[in-house]
Amino acid sequence: MRITHLRMADFRNVSFAETALDAPRIFLLGANGQGKTNLLEAVGLLPALRSFRTPETALLIRHGAAAAQMACTLEHEREGTVTVQVTISSKKKSATVDGENIRQMSAYLGRFPVVAFCSDDIELLRGAPGRRRRWLDLAIAAHDPEYLDALRRYHAALTGRNLLLRQPEPSAGELSAFEKVLAPCAAAVVRARRKTLEELGRELVAACEGIGLPSAVAGLAYEPSAATEDAGGWEEIYLRQRKADTLLRTTQRGPHRDDFLFRFGAHPARDVASEGQQRGLVLGLALAQLVLVRRRTGLAPIVLADDILGELDPARKRGFWETLGDDSQVLATGTVPPESAKEWRTLRVEQGNYFTV
């Protein structure tokens, strides 16, 4: 899949911008703060109408505007030339494909895969669990409508249970009613996360070999709040937790408290790996994701490389391009021109405008 043309309106601080992107390798060149990353972020909305930078929808909408919009033309392996338009308002997100409204996300997810590599991905390894959960959820939901559905229902039912726990005397009957909605969703979420992390872990090992990290020591470990993968088990957990949850007035166990770890040898990578090794692991994870997305969708995802190419050492650069292969289009950003400039179509970015060089 390749993007050939992009329009943005009221997106972040860009009131309107338009640019042709018709090349396999596009390099967006410019000083920081000129809008390079905005363009990548707009393309990144394609798979699931979610930003890879932030969960805060409001940040995407230009101050004073009602909605942010992105429209692009794609050359697609299966669908030919296709136009996708994404609209993000504070109330809802919507998409049209060739002018037709998408009513159900199940008819959309998995059709337009994109994988993002960002310079601040290191926070994925070092940051709080919420950041890893969000990354993992987006990585799975981007091509798995059933997962997205289970996750949404889980959070809606969780809100219900937490509101009940905040009442002076929560009724057992009502708690039970919402727990029975929660339980199968929790089981489905845990199952999908475990499977995906196993698969990503295997691909991470392979990717580490490719980028010159000791592959024998790299790994991912799922740290679920509870490893239960059947609904009955979750019903029991919620029932058992009721007393403690009532005291703290919130649901303490469940997939909303899951985490996963980067391992380096027998230990968490954040404790024992050097900064360079940590960066390598995070790059490895994004490469693993690329392999996984390609396998699950059967399509060549668009690759976004936000300010990462400059800092890769030769081994990592080789691994990056080898895993990428030739079929993925790459949109990269940087403050200095790329080394082999003639392989790239370079666009100069100045104050939200894009100029062909």
Partner: protein
């Protein structure tokens, strides 16, 4: 503006489906633009309020001791279809696919709106389970988290001790999150025909 007008607007705004704007429009229309329309409306509302009440059995609106559906001897009284609100019942009636009795809950469990079992029409339902011979319950609640939780609540509270009652649920195939009211008759008919055993 005038305090009396403000009072009317506030009261209208609390009605379902009326926002700030439409409440204002209605109030202006009835009080200033077409005041001639107000007296007949007030009379009709007053008369209706005297005559119409909830059916003590099923919660449907009625003018007599029971509603027309509960009173109809041709309908199958052993089957009860549980719905959230009267418009859902009316939609099912229009589909013509169902000939049993109903029970209207007048809402669904909703912690966010502060609606618990006490706010719903469960007491008459308990009385029906105790007094009537029921062979089938059809849960026709909306296909969202709150509708589903309400189904679980009914199952746990009334049906666990009554294994002889067949329980099924419709709503599958209806747009997720939407109620029955906006589904067309054909969709509702197929939803009734394709109802699934529950639990």
């Amino acid at each position: 503006m005038s305090p009396a007008f403000e009072n009317v607007r506030q009261l209208l705004k609390q009605l379902p489906g009326l926002g700030h704007r439409s409440a204002e429009r209605l109030a202006l229309h009835l009080l200033v633009e077409r005041p001639d329309r107000l007296p007949p409306l007030l009379t009709a509302l007053g008369q209706a309020a005297e005559k119409i009440h909830r059916c003590p059995h099923c919660g449907h609106l009625c003018e007599e001791e029971t509603c027309l559906i509960c009173a109809d001897p041709r309908r199958d009284a052993r089957r009860i279809c549980i719905v959230e609100q009267v418009p859902d019942l009316l939609a099912l009636e229009r589909s013509g696919a169902y000939h049993g009795h109903y029970h209207v809950l007048h809402g669904k469990l909703s912690p966010i709106q502060g609606i618990g079992p006490e706010q719903l029409n469960f007491a008459p339902l308990a009385a029906r389970f105790a007094a009537e011979e029921i062979s089938e319950i059809i849960l026709a609640l909306s296909n969202d988290i709150e509708g589903e939780a309400t189904c679980h609540y009914i199952q746990d509270t009334f049906l666990r001790e009554r294994p002889n009652i067949t329980v099924s649920r419709i709503g599958f195939g209806l747009p997720s999150g939407s109620g029955l009211t906006f589904a067309d008759p054909a969709t509702l008919k197929s939803a009734i025909d394709a109802r699934r055993n529950y639990l």
